[in-house]
Amino acid sequence: MTLPELLAWLQTTAVATTIQESQYGFPLVVGVHILGLGLSVGTLLWVDLRLIGVTRLGSRVSDVYRSLAPWFLFGFTMMLMSGAMLFTAYATAAYANTYFRIKMTTLVLAGANALLFHTVTQRAQAGWDDSPRPPIAARVAGFTSLALWAIVILMGRMMSYTVFSPP
């Protein structure tokens, strides 16, 4: 099965046709996607702001991360599941969309940034965990995360204007 065939097949699945044809399927799934965005990126950005040193939030970096992680991970699950459902319904158009491609590339970069932070920068966290201004590597990771997620949000909304309702 070629990629175009796979994308076309995705659009014929039960999930895809429900979103395409039911009156409330599409708005409901997009609504969950937007609320998941507010919960995930909206709470993750406070970990980033703590890393950058913009705010201390009265806690160590590790406490802020541990406290907020369940919320942003739940939000990301909401966003990932609803996003996958939306993709199945508009797979061919989405795949060909420039904003979608930039969004997906930026998502991968955001994941790589998080991985780099967890595997390298966090090794020495005990030394700066309580610092109001973490070291440059941590600040760069926080700033990069903020910038990448802002691009994901902007591209996601631009995509919705060009895939779901072409101008």
């Binding site: 599409f26 708005p27 997009v30 609504g31 937007i34 609320l35 965005l37 507010g38 919960l39 990126v41 909206g42 709470t43 993750l44 950005l45 406070w46 702001l49 913009v54 705010t55 201390r56 939030l57 009265g58 806690s59 406490d63 802020v64 406290s67 907020l68 919320w71 802002a150 949000i153 902007l154 591209m155 996601g156 909304r157 631009m158 204007y161 060009t162 101008p167």
Partner: protein, 156 residues
């Protein structure tokens, strides 16, 4: 009032927004960026008041920066929202979801910057009933706003 909305739609800015799908899309994208900052910050502030996160942090150490971020997010959202509104003011003003969204926006912001701030200024660890009640009320207002905002975009 109807003539006011009709007049808004005839302004040069409104006509520019209405005639450009690309400008509308970028305004909407920036609007969602501001929305994310507002909702995320409001969630962190009100969930902290509820005692659901950052329990070791004094309430005021969370509310103060969250309120500053909400203010920045509101500035972005209101500025872009006003431009988007101008292009179809009469239609939007007559929409029930939009009216409810505006009502909840005013109520949530007023609650956040007056009652929750006052509760945070007096509160000591651990969280007391007053903070928990304020957090629950604030959370309800902001979540109501988020849901009606989605409803306005998606069900019109």
């Amino acid at each position: 009032m109807h003539s006011l909305f009709d007049w808004i739609e005839t302004t040069a800015v409104a006509r520019d927004v209405a005639s450009s799908a690309v400008l509308t899309a970028w305004l909407s994208a920036t609007h969602v960026l501001g929305f994310t900052l507002v909702i995320g910050s409001a969630l962190v502030a009100n969930l902290r008041a509820l005692g659901a996160l950052l329990q070791r942090s004094p309430l005021r150490d969370v509310i103060a920066p969250a309120n500053r971020a909400i203010l920045i997010g509101l500035t972005i959202s209101v500025a872009t929202g006003a431009l988007l509104f101008s292009a179809r003011a009469a239609e939007a003003a007559a929409n029930g979801a939009f009216q409810l969204k505006m009502l909840l926006l005013v109520a949530a912001a007023a609650f956040q910057f007056t009652i929750l701030r006052a509760v945070a200024a007096r509160e000591r660890l651990p969280a007391r009933n007053r903070a928990v009640a304020a957090g629950a009320a604030g959370l309800s207002l902001w979540l109501g706003l988020a849901v009606t905002a989605c409803a306005f975009i998606l069900l019109e």
